[in-house]
């Protein structure tokens, strides 16, 4: 059987020490038995390593930063599409998803470019600030959380929380406070940096386990692979990890994907409490950087996503191999100045 030729735009080529998922997604697509992919890299910066990985990325174009807005992005995609005839785009950055989700109907209708993304409402529903409500709605335990808008509110929370508790910023930062006084001081510190609201969250101690999963948008979980980090970098990123056999976790992941009718890839971050209960800490709305482990375990999630994006029927995976490891490594590419010049001056390479 000859493979189906497709042109796919992929972002997240920053395969650095805290990597984006672009290159792992591309490797997965290149491994496909079904597709013969031409990869169009979409980059934001000139030093994203993927730009120069010509065995994986056939051609790269710079695209405007998300803050430039959808009209700039659409104009750039129109240009790229006029040359490359894209069949599908797989965005991989949190910050760009809002714009791609907004544009996806236009891309489909006017340019026949497929995407496979959650609806804006789904995307918003798993934000850190509303995750507790997300958990209630989708029948998954989430540490109890409440948004506050001033440090004085800490003292009104005494009937709702016990110490220690977690003080979290809207986007980043989290600290564990053992007393109200400590909590107030963290609230002040974090709000100075990220503003309000601040999220006060129940502290759950235990081990972190993550799941990379993919949903069909109709309530079916196509695949899910649980993984525990074996070694983390000083940025908290997995350096090595191992796939787990954990039916309970798979069942929870299936339930979250099914109830939320999630469309596309996602990463579920759980903590397994000392009592053996799973709490959802975060849901990232795209594949994680370790998604290639799914291929290693026998479930090619990016390939499944591409199939669904193109309207090809996909059956849910039934099994995977546990005990497979991924071990990341760094690699120095040698690049000529003329390549750097091309991407810098023309925005294409």
């Amino acid at each position: 059987m000859s493979k189906k030729k497709v042109v796919v735009g992929v972002t997240g080529l920053n395969n650095i020490d805290s990597p984006g998922p672009g290159i792992p997604v591309i490797r997965a697509l290149k491994d496909s038995e079904y597709f013969d992919v031409r990869i169009i890299g979409l980059s934001y910066e000139t030093l994203e390593p993927g730009i120069y990985m010509h065995d994986l990325v056939d051609k790269t174009y710079q695209i405007p930063m998300p803050s430039a807005g959808t009209s700039s992005l659409l104009e750039r995609i129109q240009y790229i599409h006029s040359i490359e005839k894209l069949d599908c785009i797989i965005p991989n950055f949190d910050a760009e998803l809002h714009n791609f989700i907004k544009l996806s109907p236009t891309l489909k209708k006017d340019y026949q470019i497929a995407t496979f993304l959650p609806e804006l409402e789904q995307f918003e529903s798993r934000h850190k600030s509303v995750l507790f409500e997300f958990g209630e709605k989708n029948d998954v335990k989430v540490p109890f959380a409440k948004m506050i808008f001033s440090p004085s509110e800490i003292y009104q929370l005494e009937d709702k929380f016990t110490y220690p508790l977690v003080v979290k910023g809207k986007y980043y930062d989290a600290s564990i406070a053992s007393t109200p006084e400590q909590a107030v001081s963290y609230v002040n510190k974090i709000s100075a940096k990220w503003g309000y609201p601040i999220i006060i969250q129940e502290f759950v101690s235990g081990n972190e386990v993550n799941v990379t999963a993919i949903g069909d948008g109709k309530g079916k979980c196509i695949g899910a692979i649980p993984m525990r980090k074996l070694y983390i970098t000083d940025k908290g990123k997995a350096w090595a990890g191992v796939s787990l056999e954990d039916n309970q976790l798979i069942e929870i992941a299936n339930r979250v994907i099914a109830n939320s009718k999630w469309r596309g890839g996602c990463e579920l971050e759980f903590i397994k409490s000392n009592k053996g209960e799973y709490y959802l800490l975060e849901m990232n709305p795209r594949f994680p950087a370790w998604v290639y482990l799914s291929v290693g375990c026998g479930q090619n999630h990016p390939e499944a996503l591409l199939k669904m994006a193109l309207g090809i029927d996909v059956k849910a995976f039934e099994s995977y191999e546990s005990g497979k490891l991924f071990i990341r490594y760094a690699y120095d590419q040698i690049v000529s100045l003329s390549e750097f010049e091309k991407i810098s001056t023309f925005g294409e390479l």
Binding site: L337, F340, E341, S344, T345, F346
Partner: protein, 83 residues
């Protein structure tokens, strides 16, 4: 005043300074000026060349050139003769 003669400028206005590793982007007039600087032309000569080749008066060419020189210096692309 001089610029590093090893400064590589491509037709696209891409500049690479091999002694620092920095890269820059310049426009047509900027490239024109750097080419003249590499030939050790004086400021006065550069101004008259700009006025000769481009549609600009001397006052504005002078003003813009001074600003451009300041930028070249701040980027350590240009050094005074006595340094």
């Amino acid at each position: 005043m001089y610029v590093n003669k090893n400064l590589a400028i491509s037709d696209t206005g891409f500049i690479f300074n091999p002694s620092t590793g920095d890269s820059f982007s310049t426009n047509e007039v900027g490239k024109f000026i750097i080419d003249l600087l590499k030939q050790k032309k004086s400021k006065e000569e550069i101004i008259s060349q700009i006025v000769l080749h481009f549609n600009v008066d001397k006052v504005n060419a002078d003003k813009d050139l001074s600003d451009f020189f300041a930028m070249l210096k701040s980027y350590q692309l240009m050094l005074d003769e006595n340094e």
